[in-house]
Symmetry: C2
Subunit: 431 residues, 2 copies
Amino acid sequence: MKRAAVCTIGDEILIGQIVDTNSSAIARELNSIGVKVFRMESISDDNRDIKCSLESLLQSYDIVIVTGGLGPTRDDVTKKALGELSGSHGTVLHNGQLEVVKRILANRGIEISDINRDQAAVPDTCEVIINERGTAPGMIFRFKENAYRHCPVLYSLPGVPFEALGLLPAVTEDIRRHFALDSIYHKTILTYGIAESTLAKMIEPWENALPSDMHLAYLPDPLTGVKLRLSIYGGEYAEEVQRIDSEFEKLKPVLGDAIYGEGNDTLQSVIAGMLRSSAKTLSVAESCTGGRIASLITGLPGASNYFYGSVTSYDNSVKENILHVPTSIIGTYGAVSRECAEAMACGVREALHTDFALSTTGIAGPDGGTPEKPVGTVWTAVAYPDKKHPGKTAVIARMFRFNNTRLTNIDRFAASALNLLRTVLLSELDA
Amino acid sequence: MKRAAVCTIGDEILIGQIVDTNSSAIARELNSIGVKVFRMESISDDNRDIKCSLESLLQSYDIVIVTGGLGPTRDDVTKKALGELSGSHGTVLHNGQLEVVKRILANRGIEISDINRDQAAVPDTCEVIINERGTAPGMIFRFKENAYRHCPVLYSLPGVPFEALGLLPAVTEDIRRHFALDSIYHKTILTYGIAESTLAKMIEPWENALPSDMHLAYLPDPLTGVKLRLSIYGGEYAEEVQRIDSEFEKLKPVLGDAIYGEGNDTLQSVIAGMLRSSAKTLSVAESCTGGRIASLITGLPGASNYFYGSVTSYDNSVKENILHVPTSIIGTYGAVSRECAEAMACGVREALHTDFALSTTGIAGPDGGTPEKPVGTVWTAVAYPDKKHPGKTAVIARMFRFNNTRLTNIDRFAASALNLLRTVLLSELDA
């Protein structure tokens, strides 16, 4: 198995100003072609640090992927360090990249400057991967055996995630061409609504009976629930796929509807699939989630096929005027109540003329809340066509309580609401 | 200056299934007390990898912070590796943490299992920091001089971000108690609306005149624009604050209103401040941004003071029925047009009875778009009280074009719209 390391360069990461999302995206891509990432590092924009860390990585790993430190401004020193590391005698201007630089600037109505032109200059020791999405090119450095006792390859990508992702297909294609790759196989199934430790107890007999070459991991996340991942390294790809599938198959009777998808599915993507295939439409009324649910739903391409829209009724006047929640409900039960959640769901369903409607009302914190309705409390409701009484609306509501910070509470509220909608869709669309 | 390293443990990071946000949060906290993070690493859930990497970090750094690998399930091996590394003779049950485990499970209505009880057991070589937010405790390992020629301290925190963040204050307090800390000073100012390379050209004379001990970095981000950060390590804290402030002061005439804030400000937090202090209210009508703007605004505590709500008008019927956009506008100009954006802003302002209203309509992609209105096009409008004609509504609209993936386009659309609102508030609230 080829061994890889990912190294991110930039003080902005080390001081915590930005979160590194590139390493994770790169690891996913490498995994998919059978290259395992054994180490990720983040180091500073310092010439000596860069050379020292990269030399050490090149000694231990076949593939080293570097991101960051290629921006147009002078705080970026990666290109110089890579030139020195690879014994470059100077830089050359890459015409293909220069054309892209000119085109990008022309589109923005900006005149080309020396800083921009320098972006297309690279050490004379590298091959260029043209970056169509930005001004700094990708670079490939192939090291000879005398330097590191083996022949590692270093790929340098820009730090801007959109640009780094755009170059990844060319990187994996180059890796495939140069290395004989072993297989690797991961599969993940997704569960929602069961706490990690409860889940662990429920599936303990299954886990104990797993073949010894399969590795199980639990991955909890506020938005997607607990993911269960089985991995096998090496082996015959098609056979491993089949073996892992058959182990997961045994879990279905244990976990039932708590399993909602696999791989990169999300609650909203699974809901999208159900709505699309049944040609049903959805609207949302959000109070405490403040647009988060609509944003998750519309993050998916093609959402306009089933999602009509939403109302964020942050102020009670909006609940009353747009969603027609009776003033008496808010007066009697409060805005955070089963009654209000139900009225919001029915109200948005009627106002936006959809088949299904989802609502949330709760207290995300940090302030607010009472002993009976503490911060972290949410009521969520789903309104849908009542099959027993055609033309009437059925509505179901649930209360959940969490104990997190504001943004995590909002995510958990949104996920619980989406999961309630999913279970309603499961029972209503099936029958 | 004390030198720190952060090490994240978990295969889920190395295979790219989750993004590591803990390292960034830890680095920010350490920076704030004058400890500089020189290296971040992510390694696998493997006993040998963990011991080997941590030994190497303990040799080079004064402070090593480890997160992850402490969950209740068997894929977590960190605690065992830490016990071996510190010469532990076994584990002891920590009663304080056990109480928390019992309380958390009781709140969830779950009975305590052996797996849960084990969470409160720690190597006999550590001090415990009780984790009130979860079942796995924080641990402090203090190493003696004979092991590493200096006396490093290792802090182990759980991987769940909400829990790791909860333990950070205790960690920084312990670090302060044990080390004599140098000062460190960063300050960041935030700009929106000027591309990084244009900005670099505009401020080049200023940058060339900076004192040699100040380090400048550019941090571009779709949601917040380009941040400019100046750093000084060491020195007298109060004096450095003053020196950096005075350098930034010189930039104000160059960049004008493009500077919108500093530090952790965001476009939405700056807007919140202006609305609060003038007691004005806001509503939003979103098409292509699909709830993202409302979600950004309501992510801030206390948003209900100025934010009444929003309408996500994904389907044209919602634009017509709820926002009262005339059918003729959509028919004549299309939903992505200046006219539609203006009508949406005026419509939501009237329907939700607010002082200001913001709207967006555009094409986030990947599909859709025409040669005249390609993917990445957005129209945004702000409606507000017309001062010259009391009782009437004024409206201003702008078009922007980006060239990103769906989610990044949505973020850029949202930020451009918020920035338009900010500039309108600046001129309308001032006068």
